[in-house]
């Protein structure tokens, strides 16, 4: 596909252009790291402000944090189960919060006002590297969860309920990260592209409903990613009888 770039008087659409940072042999997508640091900074600021002075009667930001904690706990508990959810709640919660804040940051912050020499700022999750990194972390963690909880008995899962399932389960180990990463990447990139295309076709009013739809999609994608990650971990630690 290569690099695409359209230049119009009102807006500019760039796809697949990156701001490269080079460290020795390694190349990094600078714009992804810049926005991801802003996202992480926002998250840490919220968390630090909210947990500075916690009381039994919650006030201010503590309410929001407790709501988020409760939401993430319910998500992890329903998918992973009562026994193992505590170990994995921070991971699931971090995935959810990072993806959610990334998506919404990408949709809400007017990044276009900041000009880069190459590429443009946007949601970190609109870059395939980020989503594949997250998806591979999920794969690693469900293997780790299964092996640490059940040892080699984890591999019984591949022949459960019958050995016929073996090839399907092996294929699943590859399709899980693939579908996780491409679903998130595709949704967020498509949302940004749709908004960008509409903005340069009709720069007024019309893109606004699509932007709201984008916010909705962004939230749903964060929830789907976290829920599926939790489900995979839950599947790995589940005891078969």
């Amino acid at each position: 596909m290569g690099s695409l770039s359209f230049a119009f008087p009102f807006a500019e659409l760039e796809v697949g252009q990156h701001l490269y940072w080079e460290f020795g042999n390694f190349r990094l997508h600078g714009q992804v790291f810049m926005t991801s640091w802003i996202v992480i900074g926002a998250l840490l600021a919220l968390v630090v402000v909210g947990t500075r002075k916690m009381e039994r009667d919650p006030r201010g930001v503590q309410n929001l944090l407790e709501f988020l904690w409760d939401y993430i706990r319910d998500l992890a508990r329903t998918q992973i189960g009562e026994k193992a959810y505590r170990d994995w709640m921070p991971f699931i919660g971090t995935l959810f919060l990072f993806i959610f804040v990334s998506n919404w940051g990408g949709a809400l912050v007017p990044w276009k006002l900041i000009h880069l020499p190459s590429g443009e700022l946007g949601a970190p999750t609109a870059d395939i590297n980020t989503t594949v990194a997250l998806a591979l972390l999920v794969s690693l963690s469900y293997f780790y969860a299964g092996l640490s909880r059940k040892g080699l008995r984890y591999f019984e899962y591949y022949v459960h309920p019958t050995p016929i399932m073996l090839p399907f389960k092996i294929v699943e180990d590859f399709t899980k990260p693939l579908s996780l990463s491409f679903r998130l990447f595709g949704n967020i990139l498509a949302d940004e592209l749709v908004v960008a295309v509409l903005v340069f076709l009709v720069p007024l009013v019309l893109p606004i409903p699509v932007m709201f739809l984008g916010l909705f999609t962004s939230a749903i994608q964060a929830l789907i990613f976290a829920t599926l990650a939790a489900y995979y971990i839950g599947e790995a630690v589940e005891e078969h009888h």
């Binding site: 697949g16 992480i40 998250l43 968390v47 944090l65 990072f98 990194a133 972390l137 990139l189």
Partner: protein, 153 residues
């Protein structure tokens, strides 16, 4: 050259994999540990402490409520007993006063009867003595009349 050549992209492109991937993974793992220390642990502690507090408070309240209900039952029982006792006392007192009244009445009646009887007896005896007197007087007078008549002849 670390970028994977996907979809014919030689430089840049949508599917441009490079060192961003592992570094982003490391970043997310670090974020997980930081958030665990700054967010999940402290907030979880506070929430679970509150849940425990609510649970124990509720259990305590339930215990107290049961106690109160038991006390109320006891008091009701006591009240019922007291009411029965007082009713019994009232009944006894009524019966006593009734008895006393009857006794007094009977005594008064009998006394009245006795005095009436005595009065009548006295009247009778006086009447009798008066009659006797009268009879005697009449006989004397008769005798006198007879004597005088006889004497006048």
């Amino acid at each position: 050259m670390t970028s994977l050549l996907l979809f014919g992209a030689t430089e840049g492109g949508l599917f441009d994999f490079d060192a961003t991937l592992p570094l982003m993974a490391v970043q997310v793992v670090l974020l997980t540990f930081i958030l665990n220390a700054l967010f999940f642990k402290p907030v979880g502690r506070v929430v679970e402490e509150r849940e425990g507090y609510v649970l124990t408070s509720r259990a305590e309240a339930k215990k107290k409520l049961a106690e109160v209900e038991k006390l109320e039952e006891d008091l009701r029982e006591q009240l019922k007993e007291a009411r029965q006792a007082s009713q019994k006392l009232i009944n006894d007192a009524e019966q006593d006063s009734d008895k006393l009244y009857r006794e007094a009445l009977a005594l008064a009646n009998s006394e009245a009867n006795a005095s009436r009887e005595e009065a009548r007896r006295e009247i009778d005896s006086q009447k009798e003595s008066a009659l006797n007197q009268l009879k005697a007087d009449a006989e004397k007078l008769g005798d006198l009349i007879v004597e005088r008549l006889l004497a006048a002849q």
